[in-house]
Symmetry: C2
């Protein structure tokens, strides 16, 4: 006997129905199906699916950093301290962290903002990076950057003088933002990155965005993703200054998603905090939220869910409200905090773990450098592709030409052209990438996002598959 | 030079300003201050603060379960597999879990709802508990139960026919609920538990609550905490049936917070799911959300942040929306998922880890049994105290008499009487408990919540301190 549901699509929180998350969306779900079909023996024109939809380094074969995992293993199970081949600095690090856990157990709650020792390390890391003071009281650890990004965005959900709140967001953007905006009911005020100029932020475009959004919304903040995701550009110092001036002029709060700050190939990274400081008054007095995470950088520990936000110069009442909201959720995972400790203070020269650590990190950096270069060159060598230089992060976001006939065919089948393209790519080659629609793109242009950190052979195979597919696709629909 | 804040108490999300979380609130903050004062040598009438404010077993000295920590240590650092003295079943378990992690790394993202292997184990555990089928597709792992409770509550945030949504919540309750209601803008429709009848749920009171709330709200769901927190009662089967009938009559969704289901002294635990099933149509067709967590039970791994919800018979569109909302946050911590795996399928008789495991769990259960009994007897032996029998969980919630003069003094100083009482208790004895105001209580009655799982000597000292303090307090203000 069927009972009527008390909760259904008419009376569920309607904001939830608006959430899109392409990184785990339609194309990816089809990829999962195909994987099951292959297992069942359904014949396919390829041996296996190549996942290039999500920035998940370990899933692409990157090896975890030995120092991190040894610290983690021993912190979880101190009985293993006596295992052979554990370097002394690992044991010391574990003892140090556990001394800040109540009764020496990672199974006890930590303070809601995180262990004092870890927050101090984060503050020291930031001071070392910027040469600007940082306070552990301004650091909030989270279950990944996603967790703290959502918590910070929640603060802006407030109608003002009858106008709903809006936040400026780049296009393209990482859909954690658009998805969370949907859930929270924040309006998304889109500013377009300038693809023709290496995905730079143009002040005129920021002004246009602010002006148009301000007609019927109260624009509260601006999100900047640097290094860019999915775009991979690293902002120049000058460009960051322009954004800060713009934000100051319009009294906007800056949210700097800087999670890829350690994934940079050759350009220097300038943190918003440092640039604000160096610009002096009044800019050095502005508020800021800067995010980072262990799922990126050389650690790439995605599954551990560990990240942080530095909340700079918050109003005391605002910080107090934030503290209480965080306390309700108790604390982020303590083992995740242990990883952050290692990332913020890796082994130093002369310490037993140093040589292996440097070897591992250098290898990761070499792979990134090599892949960004190859992806850039390969994509630009395919007729109908355009790809900006990739300065950092771990993705390529090439622009692709889709013939009018293919566009029409997509629309006739209830798809966007780029979604149709990516689904065909998947069906014909097994390569699973994410359509540009999921990140945003200038109307009339089409892109996809692909990760680029696959093992060399797989990467080459993927690139060759995309090239072959594209040439055929263009032929078929021209 | 001071710049004006763009985010301040007038334009921050006003809902955040309404959040209260007494478990880490004013009394606890004062306790932290006192700890710092003691470190600095400030003389106090006690040697140290006794924390009894939070259900944090490891912080109270409970030892982690060896099997869990060995699995965790090896899953984090598979290199340690070859360490001496690791039982074979631990190694097998680790291999099994890692075989479900992409490329065998806990550092890769899991599916958003959790690893398939762990969700299957949860489903098997539930089937074993209830004798009712369970599907791994209905299980969602979270960063603690708090995480999934908040996610489920979010679904009900929807105005209907101009009426704001309300959810029925017991008083007393665990302030994760009231805090999250505040943040989400859900109205709290309070039903009072019947203290004179062992904290039972009375249908007449549920009806009153629903009727009064329905005047200006749309009542969407009812939260039941069983075993109770802070109250420690275990609901009878009959009482659960009454709640289910009541919910059915008013088309309410049931949220069953069953996190303390393994912390029960002698009564049988009846899950809402099982009772619904056994009641047959139409009740066996109702929706349900049932929550549990690794931070409770014998594992008590609070710092790991691992829990789950079983979402039973959700409308497919609702489940789809829930899936997408969860996907945005990527996944819960994979190491937390490993713990849940151990909790859902502990070592079996004959396996190498079994004997030690049973010994450890029995000890934990003995302590709980003994402390619940002693707390109950001690509190009822203090003049002016009343305490119901404690069936489970890990708290006592005695009712205390506060003389009229003391009440007046509290009000004159901007405090509630129970807050004043708890602050005095803290200042004079170092015992840190949470005022009943933080959980709710019938107007005119006063309570506090204390954890009861301290080591024997500390527990006895705490009980003696409370008794001595109370007698003096009554004398002073009579």
């Amino acid at each position: 006997m069927k009972v009527e549901n008390s909760l259904h699509s008419e009376n569920i929180n309607q904001k939830l129905l608006g959430i899109q998350y392409a990184v785990r969306g339609r194309v990816v779900q089809r990829a999962q199906q195909i994987e099951r079909e292959i297992q069942k023996g359904v014949p396919k024109p390829f041996e296996r699916v190549i996942r290039a939809n999500i920035g998940d380094c370990h899933a692409l074969g990157q090896q975890p950093i030995t120092f991190i995992r040894q610290v983690l293993g021993l912190a979880a199970c101190p009985q293993l301290m006596s295992s052979p081949n554990i370097p002394e600095d690992v044991k010391e690090r574990v003892a140090e962290i556990l001394s800040d856990c109540t009764k020496g157990s990672v199974g006890a709650y930590s303070p809601s903002n995180g262990l004092q020792i870890v927050r101090s390390r984060v503050a020291q890391y930031i001071e070392g990076r910027d040469g600007v003071p940082a306070s552990s009281d301004d650091i909030y650890l989270g279950s990944g950057a996603s967790d703290v990004i959502k918590a910070v965005l929640t603060m802006f959900v407030q109608e003002m003088n009858g106008k709903p709140p809006a936040i400026m967001l780049s296009v393209p953007q990482y859909p954690l933002f658009s998805g969370t905006f949907s859930e929270l009911g924040l309006r998304q005020a889109n500013y377009y990155l300038d693809e023709e100029n290496g995905w730079a932020l143009q002040v005129a475009e920021l002004e246009r965005c602010w002006r148009e959004a301000s007609v019927d919304s109260h624009v509260r903040a601006i999100v900047v993703i640097n290094p860019g995701n999915p775009t991979g550009q690293v902002l120049t110092r000058e460009n960051i200054e322009q954004v800060i001036k713009f934000a100051h002029e319009h009294n906007l709060f800056i949210l700097a998603d800087e999670v890829y700050q350690e994934n940079i190939v050759c350009k220097p990274f300038h943190s918003f905090k440092k640039v604000m400081h160096e610009m002096g008054p009044p800019y050095c007095g502005m508020e800021l939220a800067s995010f980072s995470a262990c799922s990126k950088g050389w650690a790439a520990e995605c599954g551990m869910r560990s990240g942080y936000v530095e909340l700079v110069r918050l109003h005391p009442r605002v910080q107090q409200a934030f503290n209480t909201a965080r306390a309700v959720m108790q604390c982020p995972t303590v083992l995740g905090q242990c990883i952050l400790d290692c990332v913020m203070k890796p082994p130093l020269p002369g310490e037993p773990s140093y040589d292996l650590f440097v070897k591992e990190v250098n290898h990761i950096h070499r792979v990134l450098t090599e892949r960004t270069k190859t992806a850039y060159e390969t994509f630009n060598s395919i007729p109908g592709f355009f790809c900006n230089p990739i300065d950092g992060a771990m993705f390529a976001y090439p622009r692709i030409e889709i013939p009018a006939k293919a566009q029409q065919h997509a629309v006739d089948n209830g798809m966007t052209p780029d979604e149709f393209y990516c689904l065909r790519l998947l069906e014909e080659t097994g390569v699973c990438v994410v359509p540009g629609t999921g990140f945003g793109q200038l109307p009339g242009t089409f892109h996809f996002r692909t990760t680029i950190l696959h093992p060399r052979q797989e990467f080459d195979h993927m690139m060759a598959s995309i090239r072959r597919f594209h040439v055929n696709f263009i032929k078929r629909y021209s």
